[in-house]
Amino acid sequence: MSSTRLTRPGAALRRLLMFCAAAVLVLVWAFPVFWGFLTSFKTERDVLAWPPVLFFTPTLDNYRAVMQGNSSILPNLWSSFVVTSLATLITMLFAVPAAYAMARLRMRLKRTTGFYVLATQMLPPVGLIIPYYIVLQKIGGLDTYSGITAIYLSFSLPFAIWLMITYFEDVPFEMEEAALLDRAGRMRTLWYVILPQVRGGIAVTTIFVFLNAWNEFLFAVVLGGNTVRPVTVAMYNFISVEQTQWALLSAAAMLAMAPVIVIGLAAQRHIVKGLTVGAVKGGGRR
């Protein structure tokens, strides 16, 4: 009892320090977003004003331009949406049963399989671009939705499998055994007993996979083209050798970020849980 009383001033100080550290982090993270947000309402002249102006007459011209004009990014948002949704859907369809098998079934070569799944994550993406390019070129997959989606799967699947394994491992064995004794069989046990308990994990994994694919740039810029041009690539077009159209770029960036921010806020609680899953138990697995 006395020890808690003794540590109380220390705890308060620690909280203050933590708060300051968090504030600095938020500032560092939020400033570019905030500045981009302001810039998206500026005219190009205000953007380049020196010293930078904080108070200006806001305009919606930039948004009008990136949505309706020649440089409309709406087709690109659609392109992003298609690739991201396809990749996410297929990833989850395969990752959930795969992770369950890896977490639960006794099978031969499980460790080896697990290692190879993980090994695909060890390669630097840049090292894969040229092989991927050549492969897609040979099979006619360059600048097609199926081609790009397939490439996205190559990194989203292992990631999703490894994340989902930790969730499946958290479900007590006995619960599964109880269901087996209740004559549920493997598939119905999975459906009625296991999956409902990893719902949170499925949500988190889906969001992570979606965000990763949505934010992907490197593969999209090299392997895409006029047909498949996600918004990340389209935004890059506002940067050219002669000039960077900061205002338009900012407006496009705000539009591209919108779904990410909405999802992030909506799923905040789940995401934090997802980041700390396995922190207590089996933390080394991922």
């Binding site: 006995e174 619960m175 055994e177 109880a178 209740d182 004559r183 549920a184 007993v193 409902p196």
Partner: protein, 377 residues
């Protein structure tokens, strides 16, 4: 004992033949032979790691055999899936489905075998009423107390009227008072259902009070099988003796000289002192007269079978006294070995005093010091 109106009691007979189970290189079960009669309440008792839970899981089909066979009602089910065996199990952790209500939990086994909805509804209510949680059907397991969760697990197990009921330390997560109540209720429930029950516990008192028969596991082997009385009265080995009873039997190092027993510097005449040999109660060995010259033995005396005496007997030093009010346990040091004596006396000896104690007539059990096996004279 079957309740009136109970539709056809189903109770399986169980036979295990030479069951061997290995986990990697360690052998968990070294060839177990066991028979459980229909309608019996059978306890598997032993310290942790003795193989009792593994044996239960073999019956459930949750473990595969590395040798031997398992029969239910005379049918070899050694390789049958858990769901094919028509057995129900209550797990130590209860293993309730946290996302389902109590009603859905209890209904689950029936839903899985495709019972019609109205039959399920009726059966769920009956099972829930039977274990006294009829008013909690809409709650989720997380909203229940430990005792209520335990009842929910019981209801889920009895709802489809299995032929065999497996219980894996079902009371170990309850507090002491609730455990005593539930123990009696469990026994009543099993009697009223008439179902065969196999019950795993490491609590010997629990096994002694609840079971018709007990199998005692030691290091993956069966040390003794019998009724609680038979095991208490005639433990098959020193290990069993040291495990059974509250507190367990005292085991004093002794030397058997012809007709007298030498414990430390004291000598006791065997005549009328040793538990008379009778009936076959587990493995035992008889010692013939010539062999009886100076054999190293362990003399087993229950705490309640020791009493103070004026002269003769054994010299003992009082280490400390545990007073329970109506009785007391006096912790003694006899010939370098700790021993306990139960005493009802009001005036208890002070710590550090010396006194003389003697075993009551026909109360001393003898075990060979070499392997701990019971010796009948």
């Amino acid at each position: 004992m079957t309740r009136k109106g109970e539709a056809m009691t189903r109770s399986a007979s169980v036979r295990i033949e030479g069951a061997v189970k290995r986990h990697g290189k360690t052998t968990v079960l070294h060839g177990i032979d066991l028979e459980v009669h229909p309608g019996e309440f059978f306890a598997l008792l032993g310290p942790s790691g003795s193989g009792k839970t593994t044996t239960l899981r073999l019956l459930a089909g949750l473990e595969t055999l590395d040798g031997g066979r398992v029969f239910l009602d005379g049918v070899d089910v050694s390789h049958a899936e858990p769901g094919e065996r028509d057995v129900a199990m209550v797990f130590q952790s209860y293993a309730l489905y946290p996302h389902m209500t109590v009603r859905e939990n209890i209904a689950f086994p029936l839903k899985m075998i495709g019972e019609p909805a109205d039959r399920i509804a009726a059966a769920v209510i009956e099972a829930a009423e039977r274990v006294g949680i009829g008013h909690l059907l809409e709650r989720r397991p997380g909203q229940l107390s430990g005792g209520q969760q335990q009842r929910c697990a019981l209801a889920r197990a009895i709802v489809r009227k299995p032929r065999l009921f497996l219980l894996d330390e079902p009371l170990s997560n309850l507090d002491a008072k609730l455990r005593l109540e539930t123990r009696a209720e469990l026994r009543r429930l099993q009697r009223s259902l008439g179902v065969t029950a196999v019950y795993v516990t490491h609590d010997q008192e629990e096994a002694m009070t609840i079971a018709d028969r007990i199998a005692i596991f030691m290091d993956g082997r069966l040390a003794q099988v019998g009724t609680p009385h038979a095991i208490f009265d005639r433990p098959a080995s020193a290990q069993v003796a040291a495990f059974i009873g509250t507190p367990p039997m005292n085991l004093l190092k002794a030397v058997l000289h012809g007709n007298s027993l030498e414990i430390g510097t004291d000598r006791l005449a065997c005549e009328g002192l040793i538990v008379p040999g009778a009936g076959a109660a587990g493995p035992s060995e008889r010692v013939s007269e010539p062999e009886r010259t100076a054999q190293a033995v362990l003399a087993g005396i229950r705490p309640g079978d020791l009493e103070p005496c004026e002269q003769g007997g054994l010299v003992a030093e009082v280490e400390f006294v545990e007073d329970f009010g109506d009785s007391a346990i006096i912790n003694l040091m006899i010939a370098g070995t700790r021993a306990r004596m139960r005493s009802a006396r009001r005036e208890l000896p002070a710590e550090g005093t010396r006194l003389r104690v003697r075993p009551k007539p026909e109360s001393v059990h003898l075990f060979a010091e070499s392997d701990g096996q019971r010796i009948e004279l």
